[in-house]
């Protein structure tokens, strides 16, 4: 920190916010100095999102005070937060795909000319001026539909800057980026701070905390666990604060002992929902006792590949051979019965029905079997026992299994999916983005479970956009780009930079 950072930009004192049955923020004190990059870290459900939602006026605290630039304020709606110079970039972008960058940025605040019409030239030039000033390389006339994820994110940042935000809240901004794009984002964040902005950076990736932040606040169970200067702390210490116990950052595993093939994909072609080719001539195999990883930036055909394997999407050409039989034209339930489990990437709509109770989601693959049901009648006693066992084994944090699944945090929802899928002791588990939106303590647990499956002689196909995850968990990795496998690598032999190039489709 430099000398000028003596004032506080944001200070909240004693904020408490509870929902029925949960205290999301429990007497939280949180202070961000002017001109600093402040990382806010914590597990899912730790209360980070609630805290920033309160700051951005989406939620109201039960009690407590908020100070912006040392003045007490009440932020009762988002407009008020914007007025106070707070800007937020959400994890999911809020952009109109058919609009250009400038149209998105100016939406709602378009400059008018003397006749009262929108002054497009002025808007475009204003946008490029701000973009230039902060080193955000965005063409104002580029349609969002044609823009990469990185550009879209910059557009979101520009949107906040256009509204004169001085305090920027970035919610898990790197979750969707390649390593190169992440580096570029960090450049942008640094230049924002150089221009006097303050950045609150929410993440669960500790490597990024160490790299970018000046100070860091750790939350757990709705309480602040610690605040420190980043240079005086270490990832191990932060992880411990976040989880409340010692965490092993490195995935520990023995060498894989693969045996016979359980899945063989031969020259598979799959179309996506719009009818475009999404998977082009992919061949791969997975053997018992190994974890095969598929790395790649989101949207390069992984979704369609996994859906084709699990039976949710028809294949166009090619063969899928599972446990010696062709399965490309049989139903998802038959594939499940044959021993194929699937943790889908979209847990909210596919993996779970959030309107159902937890127990109802937990028995989704087993409700028809004894002892959970007999003669078509569900045995509540056995179902509750089964659900409580899974709840304990997979550490699903909930007041009970008769709670609506949608009321759980994202990480706990994911644990419900994983608990259900692994409870069937499948031959092959297809895990698609299994740790997306999951916190560090649980990531560790999920990785361990995947490796346990492997060590018990079963197979895992791990599809993830999280490069660290694929590299540390998988035994062999295929990099996918625009529906094709660019390269097979041994994770021990390549570095992040090289992988980044493969993920961008560049091959030597």
């Amino acid at each position: 920190m430099t000398q000028k950072n003596i004032e506080t930009a944001v200070e909240v004192k004693n904020i408490t916010k509870s929902y029925p049955g949960v205290t999301a923020n429990d007497s939280v004190d949180f202070k961000v100095l002017k001109g600093e990059i402040h990382a806010l870290v914590g597990e899912n459900g730790a209360g980070k999102s609630t805290l920033v939602k309160i700051l951005y006026g989406i939620e109201q605290p039960d009690s407590g005070e908020i100070f912006i630039n040392d003045k007490p304020v009440e932020i009762n709606k988002v407009d008020k937060a914007i007025e106070l110079g707070i800007g937020m970039v959400h994890q999911e972008f809020h952009l109109v795909p058919s609009f250009t960058a400038a149209e998105n940025i100016g939406l709602g605040q378009e400059p008018k000319n003397s006749r009262g019409f929108i002054d497009w030239d002025k808007l475009n030039s204003e946008v490029s001026n701000i973009a230039k000033k902060y080193g955000l390389d965005v063409d104002p006339k580029l349609r969002m539909i044609d823009a990469s994820v990185g550009i879209q994110q910059r557009t979101e940042i520009l949107k906040t800057l256009y509204r004169n935000a001085n305090i920027l809240i970035l919610d898990e901004p790197t979750a969707v980026l390649t390593p190169q794009e992440t580096d570029e984002l960090f450049e942008v964040i640094r230049s924002l701070v150089d221009e006097g902005k303050t950045v609150i950076f929410i993440t669960h990736k500790l490597r990024e905390v160490m790299e970018i932040s000046d100070r860091v606040t750790v939350m757990r169970d709705g309480k602040v666990q610690g605040v420190s200067d980043t240079k005086n702390t270490s990832p191990e210490e932060l992880a411990k604060l976040m989880v409340g116990r010692e965490v092993f950052m490195q995935v520990e595993k023995e060498k894989a002992k693969p045996t016979e093939k359980v899945l063989e994909v031969k020259n598979l072609w799959v179309h996506d929902a719009r009818g475009l080719l999404a998977v082009k001539n992919i061949s791969l195999d997975v053997r018992k006792g190994e974890i095969v990883g598929i790395a790649g930036v989101d949207g390069n055909g992984q979704t369609e590949l996994v859906e084709a394997l699990s039976g949710l999407r028809p294949t166009s050409k090619g063969e899928i051979i599972f446990d010696g039989k062709n399965i490309e034209s049989i139903s998802p339930r038959k594939r499940r019965r044959a021993g194929l489990a699937h943790v889908p990437e979209d847990r909210a709509n596919t993996g779970l029905n959030l309107k159902l109770d937890i127990w109802e989601n937990l028995v989704g693959t087993s409700y028809f079997r004894s002892p959970l049901s007999k003669g078509g009648i569900i045995s509540m006693k056995n179902v509750v026992e089964h659900s409580n066992n899974l709840r304990e084994k997979f550490d699903i944090r909930t007041p009970g299994v008769f709670v609506r699944t949608g009321s759980l945090s994202g990480g706990n929802q994911q644990k419900v999916v994983i608990a259900r899928e692994l409870s069937e002791d499948p031959l092959l588990t297809i895990a698609s983005q299994p740790t997306r939106g999951v916190d560090i303590g649980n990531i560790e647990a999920i990785h361990k479970q995947l490796i346990e499956i492997r060590d018990s002689g079963k197979a895992v196909l791990l599809v993830s956009a999280e490069l660290d995850e694929v590299m540390s968990v998988a035994d062999r990795v295929a990099v996918i780009y625009e529906g094709e496998i660019v390269e097979w690598v041994n994770p021990k032999d390549v570095d992040q930079q090289q992988m980044g190039l493969y993920m961008a489709g560049i091959k030597d």
């Binding site: 029925p20 029905n353 309107k355 078509g376 509540m380």
Partner: protein, 360 residues
């Protein structure tokens, strides 16, 4: 589904008070004494054997149509065609009631009821199939089928099934086909018990059987968004669930119509007017899309209706006032945003948490 909570009770309470105040004003303005009207209203709804029986009798079709709505909504289908099923079921119950002449009481009544259920159910087959295999919105097709049903039964009562040379109506059903009326002063009949049994049976099936789980898993909370990806992902045949749910829904509608004929009207005539199929949708929503909720809401709704009828019968007050008041009440009960906005009050949150714990 949305779970019951203290907030709902509070909203209902506040809504009732506001509704009563509006009624007060309306009655005073039109020159009545609200106290007396209120007393009559209450009497008509729930005081005395005759009034209670009439309330229960009115409730019978509402119970069935609201449960028909519950079933269709919970497989994710927005079935507005229950009224059509009522007409079809009613018509064919009447036909079976006079056509089969050599049966005993129980076999004959059972046959008529079975025919009402089957025809009401088949009426929903087309929209279900169109939805699942061609993607035709069930909202549109069931609305259209309501009109078709009215025209169809009107034709049948006027043509093939017509008996009376003067009036377009079927013959009266035989005594063996009648649902028994137990009391001389009311049309209350055994159909009510059938409806109550259906309510508890539906609750049991939806909540406690694997069949019910399959029906619900894809549709719960997803009305209009069928097919859900969740059920196809689990390998639950969601197409089959959706069609089955629609057929059950139509069957219950047919049953409602059948009971109206076998228990009350005793013959089918061209001008017969059913609208319980539409009210059933409202009642089901008030009952939070739970079968038992639908049962309770139907009884509540019928009490209000019957109170209104009684006031209409005894005084000059227009019966429409009751409809207006009912609508205002529904307004409050279905105002989910209003319900959730109550969360800003601390005592509501506390009581909510308190009651939630009690229920667990």
């Amino acid at each position: 589904m949305e779970k019951f909570s203290f907030k709902d009770v509070l909203i209902l309470f506040v809504g009732t008070i506001i509704t009563i105040s509006i009624a007060w004003v309306l009655l005073t303005v039109t020159g009545f004494v609200p106290r007396e009207i209120g007393k009559l209203f209450f009497e008509g709804a729930v005081v005395g054997q005759r009034n209670i029986l009439n309330t229960l009798n009115i409730a019978t079709p509402y119970i069935l149509t609201s449960i028909a709505t519950v079933v269709s909504f919970r497989v994710g289908m927005f079935n507005i065609g229950i009224n059509g099923s009522m007409y079809i079921g009613g018509l064919y119950a009447a036909w079976a009631g006079y056509k089969f002449t050599s049966l005993g009481h129980i076999p004959h009544v059972s046959l008529c009821i079975a025919i009402a259920i089957i025809t009401g159910s088949l009426w929903m087959l087309l929209p279900a199939i169109l939805k699942v295999y061609a993607g035709v919105s069930e909202i549109i097709s069931t609305i259209i089928l309501n009109f078709v049903a009215v025209l169809f039964v009107s034709y049948m009562a006027n043509g093939p099934f017509r008996a009376d040379p003067i009036a377009p109506a079927t013959p009266r059903i035989l005594e063996t086909a009648e649902l028994k009326q137990y009391f001389p002063n009311s049309q209350f009949n055994s159909g009510f018990f059938i409806a109550v049994i259906i309510a508890f049976l539906t609750y049991f099936i939806l909540k406690k059987t694997t069949f019910g789980y399959e029906l619900r898993s894809g549709g719960d909370g997803l009305v209009g968004f069928y097919p859900s990806r969740y059920s196809s992902y689990l390998g639950i045949p969601s197409d089959r669930s959706a069609i089955t749910g629609m057929l059950i829904s139509g069957g219950l509608g047919g049953l409602a119509g059948g009971i109206e004929i076998l228990g009350n009207a005793r013959y089918f005539y061209q001008e017969l007017l059913f609208n319980q199929g539409f009210d059933g949708i409202l009642i089901a929503i008030v009952g939070k899309l739970e079968p038992i909720g639908g049962l309770i809401a139907s009884l509540f709704w019928s009490a209000l209706r019957n109170g209104g009828l009684f006031v209409d019968y005894k005084t000059e007050v227009s019966r429409e006032i009751v409809v207006i008041l009912l609508s205002i009440l529904i307004f409050f009960v279905s105002a989910q945003k209003l319900v959730s906005s109550l969360e800003r009050f601390k005592f509501v949150r506390k009581l909510d948490a308190f009651f939630t714990r009690k229920i667990k």
